[in-house]
Amino acid sequence: MKASLASSLGLACFLTTATVVFAADPGAEDPNNWPQYNRTANAWRYSPLDQINKDNVSKLSVAWIAHGGNITMGIQQTPIVIDGVIYSITSGNRVAALDGKTGQQIWVYEPRLDPLTKKVLFAPYSRGVAVGHGMVFIGTVDGRGIALDQKTGKEKWQVQLTDFANCHGCNFTSPPVVAGDILTFGSTAGELATQGKIYGVEAATGNKAWEFNTIKEDPKSWPGESGKHGGGGAWMPGNYDAKTDTVFYGTGNPGKDFDASDRKGDNLYTDSVVALEAKTGKLKWHRQEIPHDVWDFDSPYEVLQFTKDGKDLIVHMNKSGYVFVLDKNNGNIDNIWPISDLKNFVKNIDPKTGELIGRVELTMNKETLICPSTFGARSWNAGAYNPKTGLWYNNVLDFCAYLKPVAQKVDPKEYGTGNTGSNDFGRMVMAPDGRKPGQLSANDPFTGKQKWSYAMDVPGFSCVLTTAGGLVFNGDPMGKLQAFDAETGKVLWSFNTGSGMRGGIVTYAVDGEQYILVPSGWGSYAALLLPALFPQLENVPAASMLIAFKISK
């Protein structure tokens, strides 16, 4: 079976559209596995498995269900699968290893968390674990890095990285990146009165090797004391390029989010892509996508890597919905395009220079309608790129928000209030032109040309999966899991998982059988905020499940 799957991978490469090839060499990895957050270093979320395909997807049925424990803030992870074992993390940083064929628990580990986590803004959820060097690595919601033995779940080391009690609860809500012998951890910070950092740690020992401050020490960029509470951070996992020993991260927004009166510079390195040397943390280059952000348009999303027509490229979207196509070696702009035409915060971003043309600034104590909303034109849930179709699939959010900046003092004992310069994160409203609020959109990643879209009454918030079987899998907040024809967008299969989906759908194979693995359990800030706009979400049951599907015999 492995040989046949490997052949499929070869065919997939051969059929790749135009001259786009696997830049980060995912073919070197076992096609049966989902070994890292975005499956491969190129962040495509593409699996070469094709046993489940357009012809038989209608026969998918449940193989097993595993419960993840505490349901608080739902299940937001992308599970890791290696050699038939699933590595899972759920609320409260509970880590478990499960048998991929049965869902049975092999081991479980639950850290004792700092009680302060009950007060902080970003807890108790996590988006995943990282596996390497015979260990399972997590970043905790109280700011620690912890390593577990991959076979037993026993703790090998732990290290406190953030100054948790004194940084308004800055912590880790995403997994670290295994970057050779170094692990990199990106902290939360955008809404916290602190300076967000990326930490390099020796994988073998847990010793801290370096830290990179996402707030640049530069009075032009951060006048006066404004950088002291500048936010930024890197709250989603980065991507590692082994060939150049570079870890790429997207960074968070500057603070205060909506009141920029004391930070009149460009506020580097917020809302940027940063390329760091993994061994040292040295900055190789940066590209700021949203200078002097006042709309909460972070840039922490996945950094896709390609080689196209002989050029090494990065494709990267930020919350504004503008997609930056960059030279991977220096960050120079190749193209910029918007994922949706529902945007008014600028007239446009110059596709050659990156200049924000016709910015809409906010007025203190007055509401301004901004599109897209503070959820962005897409939330943090990653898209997926299929080399066989040449299309990039994303859950596009087509709604807006009224933003109102207000004066706000920093309170040193504050943990639950965001350093946002506002009373809320925007009053969300539907698009003024009455369009549906969401779509699954299939676009060329370099030009933005849309091939197809699937309109949704409640927009999607799960990470998308695409496979060599010609399929795209997507889940919605109501619990509807769907499989689409990757070429046409036709719905081929649908299943009600019983709760909404916010995590990453993955696929793997064990003993010759392919599985689709779906985290189902509505949660996150979307669950708190969206019912105001989508009342049907108020009654979605909470859960924390992993549901595995396979073709019924």
């Binding site: 009373n423 949660g523 105001a532 859960a543």
Partner: protein
Amino acid sequence: MRFPVVWAGVVLVSGLVVAKLHAEEIPDLKDPKVITAGHELYLEKQCAHCHGEDGRGGVNLAQRTLDAKGVFTSIADGRERNGIRMPEWRGVLSDKQIWEATAYVLSISQASNKAAN
């Protein structure tokens, strides 16, 4: 032998807590000044983030039937229900401030609306 000692301690501490609660001066939750102070806190601490400026946000307070003790406890100790979580505010806000916030929340809840009718 150890357990009775522990239980005795728990009973003693519980008794002290109850006595302290009774001894506290709970403000008049219908006093407009207390409600106004609570509204200011509600905005300042970004309760509006989840509950909306008018209480009709994602976690809608205006359509709920609420009681003073329950609201106070939820603000002080946090709340986890149906997968969503509210952080705890004890130690960040004083008891007096939590009562003020409670007064505002009650003023926009169903219980208050019914009483007004």
